[in-house]
């Protein structure tokens, strides 16, 4: 079966490649052929100047993440014929949210730097805590809590599709935060609280907008969003609440508790405080012009507020019971 491909080319060192362009290729695809195999056959037989990263060809090295018809996938685990049948075209581009270096190759330095920032290694207590004579046993349940996070092959697919990273380059990103949870959630970890403090700073766990893209596009089922949510609740449990993210969550909980619904107009003040809210006035005016400004309710409290409060009481009771049970 003949398949036409369009591949985004870019090479800043040549005259023709300085401006990105799409180049058309055509290959004879056989049943079961992957996109990576197509790329390799193009590089071998048609155009050796085409550059892309690849290594293992079996979705374990994480080198070949590219955008296939607009969505980030591993080239080695995507078959070309079914993909072509869906879109009737085959457009290959480098992953997003990364600087393109050449053709399908992107700069991974920021990715590794962010990973370094979360200190991707276990920090056990420096000296053996008193009374501990044996090694720490990890129960099946303990392992399950972090298992998803250690499947990461660092292909960058999640960061490529991350909406928060698109508007804030400093955001740590789903890949690094999933790695952070792998250690914060480890029962042998000692520096968890310190880590959570750092992760709650600007451009940390609270930058995530929960669009679920990272979960959807991860080729290994890492679920970075699950990791981020676990980090968030762990941070609040640890009492790390002096940041916009935690304040926002608390304000939301309290608003529903108090009036039975989300009083959006009051959220800005509760999250940012009065002074900082004043700085948001120009932004608020813009929102008003676009009809996006939430207006305060005249009578915010709903009629059946008692029902809402019953739910809160029930949650409180359950949490109390959970705490009483011995761990493990």
């Amino acid at each position: 079966m003949k398949i036409d491909l369009k591949i985004r080319r870019f090479n800043p060192t040549t005259k023709n490649g300085r401006e990105p362009y799409y180049q058309a290729y055509s290959i004879e695809a056989s049943e079961g052929m992957t996109v990576l195999e197509a790329l390799m056959s193009i590089a071998a037989a048609q155009d050796p100047t085409l550059s892309f990263r690849r290594s293992c060809r079996s979705s374990i090295c994480g080198s070949c993440a590219i955008k296939i018809n607009g969505f980030t996938k591993l080239a080695c685990s995507t078959q070309i014929i079914p993909e072509h049948e869906k879109a009737h075209e085959m457009v290959l581009e480098p992953i997003a949210n990364h600087t393109v270096l050449k053709d399908l190759i992107v700069d991974f330095d920021p990715f590794w730097k962010k990973l370094d920032k979360v200190k991707p290694y276990l920090m056990p207590p420096e000296t053996q805590p008193e009374g501990r004579t044996k090694e720490v046993h990890i129960s099946e349940k303990d392992a399950e809590a972090i298992d998803h996070a250690q499947k990461c092959i660092m292909c960058g697919s999640c960061n490529s599709e991350c909406n928060a990273l698109e508007i804030e380059k400093k955001y740590l990103g789903p890949a690094a935060l999933a790695k952070a949870w792998r250690f914060v959630g480890d029962v042998r970890e000692e520096g968890g609280r310190k880590r959570l403090g750092r992760l709650s700073d600007d451009h940390g766990i609270w930058d995530c907008v929960r669009c679920v893209h990272c979960v959807e596009y991860c080729p290994k089922g890492v679920e970075p969003l699950t990791a981020i949510e676990r980090l968030r609740s762990r941070a609040i449990q640890e009492g790390i609440k002096d940041n916009h993210g935690a304040k926002h969550v608390e304000a939301m909980v309290n608003s529903v508790k108090k009036v039975g619904r989300l009083d959006e107009a009051a959220m800005t003040f509760k999250t940012l405080g009065l002074l900082r809210s004043l700085g948001m006035i120009p932004f608020g005016l813009k929102m008003e012009m676009h009809g996006k400004m939430p207006h305060p309710h005249l009578f915010p409290q709903i009629k059946k507020i008692d029902e809402v409060r019953t739910i809160y009481a029930e949650i409180k009771r359950k949490n109390k019971n959970a705490k009483k049970k011995p761990k493990g």
Partner: protein, 119 residues
């Protein structure tokens, strides 16, 4: 290599393989790069790898041709028996000025002596 130097080998296949590989190595001397840039040139490493692979393949072939016995995954259909007396040694291949030479080194074993496989 799959045809001439698989698990089951014999003299004629191996000799043909050596001749073919020698020819390929000659052809490799005329190799050219189509990608002449020096920025993320992914053709260059693949060509360097090809040259090394040809050298390794040639070494494997001449080593297998010289070893007239069967041992593990090296099964000579013309010499089906294992011969510890003569071949209990490592094959060493040395490349110097584009010629390959074979030499041998004794196997040192400590606690467990290698024995013939009985299954």
């Amino acid at each position: 290599m799959v045809k001439h130097c698989s698990v089951f080998r014999d003299k004629t296949e191996l000799e043909q393989g050596v001749a073919k590989m020698a020819e390929l190595r000659q052809r490799f001397k005329k190799v050219v790069l189509k990608d002449r840039t020096d920025y993320y040139n992914t053709e260059l490493p693949s060509v360097l790898e090809l040259g090394n692979m040809l050298d390794i393949a040639y070494s494997t072939l001449i080593g297998a041709l010289a070893r007239e016995e069967s041992r593990g995954a090296h099964t000579r259909t013309d010499f089906p028996k294992r011969n510890d007396e003569k071949w209990m040694q490592h094959t060493l291949v040395t490349k110097k000025d584009d010629t390959f030479s074979l030499s041998y080194k004794d196997v040192s074993f400590t606690k467990y002596e290698p024995t013939e496989r009985k299954y």
